[in-house]
């Protein structure tokens, strides 16, 4: 445990030229997860300034999406945030539906919520695993990545793919819930509840973890708001904000869940909040499975467009085949915005259409990118040896930030 020496308010203004400070480069090849370089200026072994140098995996997703039909942007946005693809998909489709004036039927909304929450659990387990490897615990890394598998299998059963689902389409979802899914999901949840106790024993309540994380990388409430921190990192600093509650989408207004918050805003709270959110996600999945309404999984307008063969497939296998007009969607001129709470925080979408085949402006901001100002401030004043704990606790995913 260490005391903070430099004040984060004055951190960006410190002049680091001269002999007193050493500049250290961490990365760009894989300091944890994905490619980014962190330039760190040190006074002795105290971090004075952090300059994240990102963009090594920039994939021009906005440029590519502005030169394609609306529907073809789905795989592009998904490949940006691989641990959390359903949220990229969901946020884009939520915004596109607002632009098109479509609304998905209740069953599709519930299926979206179900898929999103399963994906949130895999995303958090991914974060916990990477945090484990940062602190040198390969056990937790193996455990977390192993425990993602039952959930990924569930998603495979639901959507037919392990990671890149392309499950959510304008007006609904592509597959209905298969037979036997509910029973299997209940088994998986039961297994995970048991495993969370094991995580508590070996990882969360481990004194070694506590001594490395408690009071390290503190961001207080005021600074968290000022720097625009998102997601679990924001709630760990004591801000009660969750897009699922404050700007509801899918079926979140119908389910009952809590938004866990913590007070200290240190690395340990950021670890705890991910565990708490896994518990809340399991609570939501149980409710969704119980309350799942009957009905169509695609809206009426789209259903009418299906040709007889597609209708047969839909009736027999509850699978939506893409009608041809999906490729020629021309939304009315105008703009729409949408926000979705992904595993790492809030995804923001801004779409503008000029009435043509392609989006006129396709803008999206991912949670990791919005956590960058936070990242420049959070490590200041701590020792270099604390940096892995801080970096790991932020759950930063470079390909997601670079887009």
């Amino acid at each position: 445990m260490s005391e903070r020496v430099y004040n984060i308010e004055e951190a960006p203004n410190i002049d680091v030229s001269g002999d007193r400070y050493i500049m250290l480069q961490i990365g760009p090849s894989h300091p944890g997860s994905g490619h980014m370089r962190i330039k760190v200026w040190l006074d002795g072994d105290i971090v004075v300034k952090v300059d994240p140098d990102i963009g090594f995996v920039h994939r021009t997703s906005e440029w590519l999406s502005e030169r394609r039909e609306f529907i073809k942007a789905i795989p592009i946005v998904e490949r940006i945030m691989l641990p959390d693809t359903i949220h990229a998909n969901l946020s884009y489709i939520t915004t596109l539906e607002r632009l098109l004036g479509l609304e998905a039927p209740p069953r599709a909304q519930y299926l979206r919520t179900l898929a999103a929450e399963i994906n949130r659990i895999t995303s958090h387990l991914y974060g916990i695993g990477i945090f484990g490897i940062f602190l040198g615990s390969s056990t937790v890394y193996m455990w977390a990545f192993g425990d993602r598998e039952p959930f990924i299998d569930l998603m495979e059963m639901l959507t037919g793919a392990r990671i890149t689902y392309s499950y959510i389409i304008p007006g609904g979802v592509r597959w209905d819930m298969p037979k036997g899914f509910k029973e299997r999901a209940e088994k998986v949840l039961e297994y995970m509840e048991k495993r969370l106790k094991d995580y508590d024993d070996i990882w969360v309540k481990n004194p070694v973890v506590q001594s490395r994380c408690v009071n390290v990388g503190v961001i207080d409430k005021t600074n968290a708001i000022r720097l625009g921190v998102v997601g679990p990192n924001l709630r760990a600093s004591g801000v009660y904000y969750d897009t699922r509650k404050h700007d509801p989408y899918a079926a979140y207004q119908n389910v009952d869940f809590e938004v866990p918050t913590f007070k200290n805003g240190d690395a340990y709270d950021r670890l705890l909040i991910r565990v708490e959110e896994i518990k809340q996600s399991m609570k939501i999945i149980k409710q969704v499975l119980k309350d799942m309404p009957e009905g169509k999984i695609i809206d009426e307008g789209t259903y009418k467009q299906l040709n007889p063969v597609m209708k047969k497939v839909y009736d027999e296998r509850a699978r939506v085949m893409f009608p041809a007009f999906y490729n020629h969607m021309r939304p009315q001129p105008g703009e729409a915005t949408g926000r979705v709470e992904a595993g790492r925080g809030e995804i923001f979408f801004y779409l503008r259409s000029d009435g043509g085949k392609y989006p006129y402006r396709f803008r999206w901001v991912t949670p990791s990118f919005r956590n960058l100002p936070f990242f420049t401030h959070v490590a200041v004043g701590y020792r270099l040896a604390d940096l892995p704990a801080i970096y790991g606790s932020v759950d930063y995913f470079p390909p997601e930030a670079d887009r």
Binding site: G55, G101, R339
Partner: protein, 173 residues
């Protein structure tokens, strides 16, 4: 403070405000770019405490800069994303590719507009991104180095509509 009160308060600042609840667009249009900081300060005062996105939109006659702001601290504003929008005039268009000089005509300098980083520090990296993608010079921004693109892409402003590339540029040495 609800959406209607926010609308009245911002209209008093001389902005044109429209609210489309269905498409979730709360639009604050400021015609004069020099007044942008004043309106932003007012928005901060009203409780819109962080920026979600900063971007440009390239139209044939102008480039619009948009700051999307939202609130963590005021409960009734949390469902809103407020777009602060201002037009700036466009410079000369990009010329055709010249294989001899390997350029697209003379360099086009970035277009100036006030930076809002002193109002919203959360816009630091977002404005850097808008700078390299659209060629908008945020006056008063502490650090406008390219962030996502490599240095040799600087000045091409790739998200403007006139951006093209020549096949010879794709050749990797």
């Amino acid at each position: 403070m609800n959406a209607d009160e926010l609308k009245t308060a911002l209209e008093a600042e001389g902005a044109k405000v429209t609210y489309d609840q269905k498409r979730k667009v709360f639009d604050v249009f400021v015609q004069d770019p020099s007044r942008i900081k004043q309106v932003a300060r007012k928005m901060l005062e009203l409780g819109l405490d962080h920026v979600v996105s900063v971007t440009g939109v390239d139209y044939p006659d102008r480039i619009e800069v948009i700051w999307h702001a939202s609130s963590y601290s005021v409960d009734s504003l949390e469902g809103l994303v407020v777009a602060l929008r201002t037009p700036i005039s466009k410079g000369p268009p990009r010329q055709a590719y010249d294989p001899r000089t390997r350029t697209y005509g003379p360099a086009r300098p970035p277009l100036p507009v006030d930076s809002l980083t002193d109002v919203w520090p959360s816009a630091l990296f977002l404005e850097r991104e808008a700078h390299e993608m659209f060629g908008i010079e945020f006056r008063g921004h502490p650090d406008l180095r390219p962030i996502l693109l490599s240095d040799d892409f600087y000045g091409k402003w790739p998200l403007r509509k006139d951006f093209t590339y020549d096949k010879s540029e794709l050749k990797v040495a």
